[in-house]
Each structure stands twice: as C-alpha cells, then as structure tokens.
Amino acid sequence: MDLSLTDDQKMIKETAASFVKKDSPVARARELRDSALGWDAAVYRQMGELGWLGLPLPEAAGGFGGTMVDAAILLEEFGKTLVPEPYLASVVLGGRALVHGATAAQQAELLGPMIEGERVISLAWAERGSRYDPEAIEARAERRGEGWAITGEKVWALGAHAADDLIVSARADAGISLFHVAKGARGLTVQTVKTMDGGRAGRVRLEGAEARLLGEPGAAGAALSRVLDDAAAAACAEGVGVATAVLWMTVEYLKTRKQFGVPIGVFQALQHRAVDMFVATELLKGTSILANARAGSDDVVERQRAVSAAKAQLSSGGFYVVAQGTQLHGGIGVTDEHDISLYFKRMRVLMALFGDEEHHVARYAALPSFTAGL
C-alpha cells in the first residue's frame, strides 16, 4: 500500500494550492454569485490551458489519462476558497458521463473542446420524481429520421444554463439511453436556476428536442451509476477542502475573538468542539481518498461501498464541521457578509448532490459486502 502522491500529483496539488491562494480568493466566489454566468469564462479557459480540465479523461480524447484521484486533488483545493468554475459539472459529470457512456469517436469529438476550456458540458439526469435514482425517469426518446427526439423535463442540471453540450438521459424502447443535445437545438429550453451556494443549474425542458444517441441504446443505467459515483467521490473531495477551510478559520477565530477578557479558545468546551471538528475533517480526508481511489474500480461492490461510506461521512462529519464552525463564530457566523456562511451553504449543497446520507447509508447496507462473512 502507498498513500503518497506521485510527483505529478504533487505538482498538481502545488499549482492548484497556489491558484486558489493567489488568484481565487473567496471574494471572487462572492462576487461571481451575482453574475449572470456564475463563474468566470476566462478562468475556466485558463483551467483548460493548465491541463486541469482533461485530468480524469482519456488520452485518446485529448485528456491526460488520469483518474478521479487526480481530479480529487484539484477539487479539494478548490473547496478551500469555493472556486466557482464548473469543474464538477463539466469535467466530472459531463466529461465522465461521456467516458462511461459514449463511443470513442463521440468522446474525442465532444471532450476535446471542453478539455481546451472552449466548451462546457452538462449532464441532465435528474427529474422531479427521480430523487437519487437515475433510472427513475420519465423523459422519452423516440427515433426521428436519422436522429432522435426527446420529450421531458430535467432539473438541477449543474451548469446547464451555460452548457454548449448537454448529455441527457431518456427512456427509449431499448431502455434508458444517453443523448447529446447541442445548445440551441430545436425543442430545447434551459431556464437558469440559482442555487443556494451562489451557483447555477438549469431546468431543462425538452419538447421533441433534437438529439443524437450516445453509445449503445439501453446501456445508460450502468454509465449513469458510474458517473454519479465519480461525482459523489468528487463532492467528498471538495467537501474536504470546505471542511478544512472552515476548521482553520474557526481555530483562528477562537484565538483572536476575546470575551470575558480572554480569547474564547481558552474555554475548554470550545477547545473540545474544535478538536471534534478537526477529527471529523481528518476522517473525511480518509474516506474521500478511499472513495476517489475506488471510483474507477470495475468491482461494483467495492466501488459503491467506498463511495457510499464517504458520501455518508460527508453528510454527518462535514455538516458537523460547518455547523459548529458557524456556532463558534457567534452572531457574525449567521451573516451573509461573513465567508463562513458561504462555506456552510456549499457544504449543504454538496450533501444534497449525488445521494444524501439516507441514500448512501441504505445503499451501503444493501450491498452484499455488508452481510458477507455472517
């Protein structure tokens, strides 16, 4: 076993750490939450130039042939200052959906420009009634001439408001399949929906929207399951960054905020709370590493066990850190003005994405590994 980073990974981490520190302070996230796009297109392109957008994508399609572990290194750093560019949306959800569900030629065509930072890809899988089950959908796909026509509604499609390429799941005669719907396609309307953390999602309406089949018809179930595991693992990595930032911001506050003539960090009740936050953060780091390392595994049980454990841990431990961080800041912690309220919101959004605690605990307990050896 070796948990150390390779030289390449160390370099990614250093570059990313320096980027968030110098070029992407939280103030940038705060400013961009009120912009129409929600992020900075120039920074997204810059991420392409740095090679970040292609990290966990195949070389054949113009990527760097890395894994979710590489993406996780970036995302953890991004979480520390709430970097708003759509990495999770475009690279992990959009990009990896294509990896799992599209042909090599389709990947090369669609991933290339995204990896360069020229285009944004968004995955539209969720529907009003689907909760966290990508197969509980009603959107329908029917053949129309050479191509397909999709009818249905998708919600909370991250980054869809600005997507050049939408990957849409829909039910065809052969079963659930993935489709490519290009921006501006006939029958497609995307409504921009603001999210709690200042981000943007799209509500996607498809009225016989012009589409192209990706990969094999009826084969999207497995692909969606895999990409949502990738995304859950990615959310954990970002959550580690969020928790780490909140932990240290709070520790700093305990050292500087004075009440009763002393820094409040003197009070042991608060010291213990800070220690519990620290422990929770360390545990998150461990489960996040596990989930991201196993995300690429073809062994479904091994993969789901790791991802579900990490995502459930994020909902308990991650929430503990941001809730207690807020509490220890007192009144200022519940102002919009203080950055901790932005971190709090981001953590809550990460919790709600790709399966909440309930979902992952249930899935974990239903795996054969849970009752193995009895």
Partner: protein, 396 residues
C-alpha cells in the same frame, strides 16, 4: 397528577383555533400555509388583529391590557398560534421591555409606553450586544455620560433585530466606568428618531434583512428615560433574559416544522413509495418528534412551576437549549426531505413546490437559534454553575 387539559382548557383551545382560522387575512394565511418569512409589516398587521381581540399580550396583567389567562391557557394559546404558522410577533415590546416596565417602571413610564406597545403604535428593538460584547455582555462599552438633566450616549450596538423598523430601542449602557462592570450599567430607553442614531441593516445568512448595526453619536437622552435606578440595569436585564429564554422554547414552531417535514416527505417519491414510507427517514423524523415531546413536557413542567408563582429560574436555560436545537434539527430534516430541491434559493415559483420555497433560507437562518438569546454554550455554563453548583475556574 393530571396531565390532560381540562374540558374548559380544551374548549379554549378550540376557541383559539377557530379565531386564528377566521381572523388571519388571506395573504397572511397563504404565507403561513407555506411557512414563508413574514416581514415586519405583516408581523405588525397580525399584532393589530390580536390587539383588537384583546389577545396581544397574554402574559400581561389584566389591568394593563392582558386577557387574564391562566398559565395553561397561555401555553395553549402560544402552541395554537405557532402551530397555525401565524406570524410570530416582535417580542421586544410585548415580551421584553413591556414586562420589564411593568415590574420596574415608574407610573409615568408605564402610562407613556405600555399602551403603545400593546396597540403596536410603537415598535421596539433591543440594544444589548456590541461588537466586543456578546456572550460577555457585562463588558459593554456604549456610554451614557451624565450631563445634568440628560445623558449623552456614544457607542455601537450590533445584531439589533429589526432596528430599521423600530421607533424605540431599549439599551444597556455604561453609566459608571469606574466600578465593577455589572455595577455601572443602566437600562435606557432611546427614541430612534433622536439625532445621532443611525441604523445600518445587514443581511442574515438566510438572506433576510433581519438585523442591524446601530450607532449612537452624541445622542441626547432625557434622564426620565432610565428604567429603575441608574447603575442598576444589569439585574433587571438578567430578569428579562429569563423571560426571553422561555419564549425560545418554540414548541409549536417545532411541531409545525416537523409537520412540514412529513408533508414534504409524503409528497416526495422515493422508489415505489414516498419518502415518508422509507423506514430510515421515518425513524429519523420519529426520533426528533420524541425529542420534541420530551421538550414539551419540560416546558409544561416549567409552566406548572410558574403557575405556583415561581419566577423563571435557571431551568429556563433547558428550554432555550432544547427548543433551539430541535427547531434547527427540524429544518435540517426538511432539507433532507427535499433531496436535490435543497439546492434551491429564492427561485421562480414553480422550481420547487411552494411549501419548500422558504426552507433553505430558514434552514440557514436557524443556525442563529443556538446563538441568540444567550448562546447554548452560555446556557450550559449557567446550568453547570447555578443548577449543578460545579466549581468555577479561578473561584473557590
């Protein structure tokens, strides 16, 4: 011992319920139905409706405009109003400065202020906390300099809830800097229209303009605006905090929030059934409801004590502790029930169902329930010291 309410009390409950149903104007009822955020104007509208009915100040003595209810009736009344989702009235006049004036004010002060608190003609806010003095309130620095027939006030208060709408503020100010902290504080009433008072509203994390910074720059305040004796404001303020904490019990509010969770869960598809049928989720809600039941009994026990004439003591800290945590947890569950809809933030009406619209905002704002009114850490300190009698660091 009898844990049930008497037939008369049950009849009273029915009367309150019927009144609320008929008296709430449609636009308030509409918001109540989805647990929307009531603005100050809506709170005052409801205030005036209750005033007209003679029910606006349940805990005031009858001769000063209270309805003359028993403790049980007051409990029922509060529970009914909260469960109906009626606007929660601004507590600063009715529940804070009003009772304080009733207890410690002069005849002239009572006549001047109480009727307008009752009618809602004058809106109050509370000026205790300062940037440097939150939990350590006694360290407050806003000073009131004695200038013969008046004081001149300088300093800053913060987190002043709804100061932007207030006509009056009751403040703790330092009148004597050279004695022990607690012994140099006075309780002062200040007209917000006085020259030198400025208010800067702030957004909460729930994106509501609920609190403000309040600045005092050479503000002249007549001497007659001191309540009680000069330099003796601290003891009175502490008596008031006990009152404030029983208010935060929020039993009906939490009951309603749990009901909201169940509604959302029932309307949410999960597999072949609804989320409310999901045993994991159901158990979570049940556990919280059991916590609420225990809390409700603690509240009733405290009220039974009050009925026998005991003033709210340190036990009120228990109510504040549990009430604030349960309300917080109820909104955490509501967010859980919403699934990905928990991402929503003041979106166009049909993005999420109407009764989910406000949940994320309230969820964020409710982190404050364990902070205001004396943080939960401070409540635990009080219980440790005053009830358990545990030794304190640096004291023998």
């Amino acid at each position: 011992m009898d844990l049930s309410f008497t037939p008369e009390e049950e009849a009273f409950r029915a009367e309150v319920r019927a009144f609320v149903a008929s008296a709430m104007p449609p636009h308030l009822a509409e918001k109540a139905a989805v647990d929307g955020h009531f603005g100050m104007d809506e709170m005052m509208e409801w205030h005036r409706i209750l005033y007209a009915k003679g029910w606006v100040a349940p805990h005031w003595p009858k001769e000063l405009g209270g309805p003359g209810w028993s403790v049980a009736q007051r409990f029922i009344f509060t529970e009914e109003l909260e469960s109906a989702g009626a606007p929660i009235l601004s507590p600063f006049g009715l529940a804070m400065v009003g009772p304080l004036l009733i207890q410690f004010g002069t005849k002239a002060q009572k006549e001047r202020y109480l009727p307008k608190i009752l009618s809602g003609e004058e809106v109050w806010c509370q000026g205790y906390s300062e940037p440097g003095s939150g939990s350590d309130l006694a360290s407050l620095r806003t000073e009131a300099r004695d200038e013969g027939d008046h004081f001149v006030v300088n300093g800053q208060k913060t987190w002043t809830t709804y100061a932007q709408y207030a006509d009056w503020i009751f403040c703790l100010v330092r009148t004597n800097p050279s004695v022990k902290q607690q012994a140099g504080i006075s309780f002062l009433l200040i007209d917000m229209k006085t020259e030198g008072v400025t208010v800067k509203p702030m957004l909460t994390s729930g994106h509501t303009p609920a609190f403000c910074d309040t600045f005092f720059d050479n503000v002249r305040v007549p001497k007659e605006n001191v309540v009680g004796k000069v330099d003796q404001g601290w003891t009175m303020a502490k008596a008031l905090l006990g009152h404030e904490r029983t208010l935060i019990a929020a039993v009906g509010q939490s009951a309603r929030a749990i009901q909201r969770v169940k509604h959302i869960a029932q309307a949410t598809r999960c597999g072949d059934a609804t989320l409310l049928d999901d045993p994991l989720f159901r158990a979570k809600v049940a556990r919280l409801e059991i916590q609420l039941e225990a809390h409700r009994m603690a509240n009733l026990r405290a009220l039974a004590g009050a009925q026998l004439g005991h003033a709210p003591g340190p036990e009120s800290s228990i109510l504040k502790l549990r009430g604030s945590e349960i309300l917080q947890q109820a909104y955490e569950l509501a967010m859980d029930a919403m699934g990905q809809n928990a991402l929503s933030w003041f979106n166009e009406p049909d993005v999420v169902p109407p009764d989910e619209h406000w949940v994320p905002s309230v969820f964020n704002y409710n982190r404050a329930t364990t902070i205001y009114g004396g943080s939960n850490e401070i409540q635990k300190n009080i219980i440790a010291k005053l009830i358990l009698g545990l030794p304190q660091v640096g004291k023998d």
